[in-house]
Amino acid sequence: MAEVLVYVDHVDGAVRKPTLELLTLARRIGEPVAVHLGANAEDAAKILGEHGAVKVLAADAPEFAEYLVAPKVDALQAAYDAVSPAAVLLPSSAEGKEIAARLALRIGSGIITDAVDVEAGDEGPVATQSVFAASYTTKSRITKGTPVITVKPNSAAPEAAPAAGTVEQLAVTVADSSKGTKIVSRTPRESTGRPDLTEAAIVVSGGRGVNGAENFPVIEALADSLGAAVGASRAAVDAGWYPHTNQVGQTGKSVSPQLYIAAGISGAIQHRAGMQTSKTIVAINKDEEAPIFDLVDYGVVGDLFDVVPTLTDEVKTRKG
């Protein structure tokens, strides 16, 4: 069976959920071979194996942390040369897309980004994309070279599929030309203890209607009662009420949770671009004309400062 390279997104060997989703999709088109760059490949290999990776190609080099993107492209290219895969899958993060693009160019292949589904087809993998702020669904494929596809988080449910997950060292030579962009310093993001925005099953977002940083705890309390992640509209972020890393939308994170709750958000096209594919959408807005109500499964026309705290109390009571 053909092999499919899966690029592993991890933090020091802790594999992030989107990679497990990629393994599920990869098994539809071949045998997944994971590529782990950086430390603690053995830790990663365990969970990668449990999710179907027959092999884990591992490489660690200081250059991965010292320079931006290009050394990782060198490594992925080495894996590509070693395996001659039928396809290469990567997560649709900013970095994942950049690595994918440069690899595709080097190996003379086409690239599809932000796929929300990947299936086997007669003429190679078929990728589904959700485009124009999720108003269209397209099906595309790559016609030249080895398909390179990046996949959005939450596009598939990770499935257990025990496989060997044997770690093999991958020899990597980082080219001098890949050392152009120095990473002078790196400040890891502080953990809030809440689930990761792109991975969360429930997201509660606040917008301009929240009316101040001091009011965001109202949104956080609801999120915590539901075990949800907190999101924000760009208006709330631009006003400095919430960090940019929590922005949902075209230029923020795109989320696709089971449940999305928008409080005090009007539903501008750029916001919708990042949340329209959520399974169930709920909005609380005092303006009954707000465009967000066109999308909702359930909407409450009302003041969020009345509705949200009541809802939070109800959730707590019902959960006991």
Partner: protein, 261 residues
Amino acid sequence: MSLRIVVCVKYVPDATGDRHFAEDLTVDRDDVDGLLSELDEYAVEQALQIKEAADDAEITVLTVGPEDANDALRKALSMGADKAVHVEDDDLHGTDALGTSLVLAKAIEKTGYDLVVCGMASTDGTMGVLPALLAERLNVPQVTQLSEVSVADGKVTGRRDGDTATEQLEAALPAVVSVTDQSGEARYPSFKGIMAAKKKPVESLDLEDLEIEADEVGLEGAWTKVDGAAERPARTAGTIVKDEGEGGKQLAEFLAGQKFI
């Protein structure tokens, strides 16, 4: 010596309009008004600020697109860019990311550059890969997704806010930069700027000028193929209630019914 800045700007269908696909499954550009991709306004703005901080710099805005894409160039010129390059050729219709990067790279080399500035992503294709592709093709450093950028002493430095960390980056020129919408509000063209833009030079190039064969670009030359595009079915109308004291409770009831609580 003068700092040569090339800003890549894309002409895109207005995202607030009703965007559709044409019969050949390319974007229907006749259907909706086009404009300069809003995210590229941030690129123009940062280029202008870099120029203002430099002793001597010149900004060329570059677009690959149909005749109307001239509007995007005019907007950038009226913001303060010095000159423009428009790559236009019927054979470009349907070009994908790899093909676009080929055309842009050749045009950038022909123009001459020390710094290329791009937006973080276009507002139509939204791939966010062109800057990385250009760095690979031009064999220069990529300093991308910057929320802060500055150029001094032949070096570009900037801040990249990633998923798990914030990084401070540095590279020697020449380099390709992309900036996010966190990099600072773009200025509005002044009346004077709009008038001045009318006199600024716009150079027009075709594939022959760039020594690119027709079959390397366009739908024919594309590395990818769209087989189908379907409009997302309208959501069935949801339940909407007015809060008259019970709104929070009713919502809890709904969420419980859906097994979220």
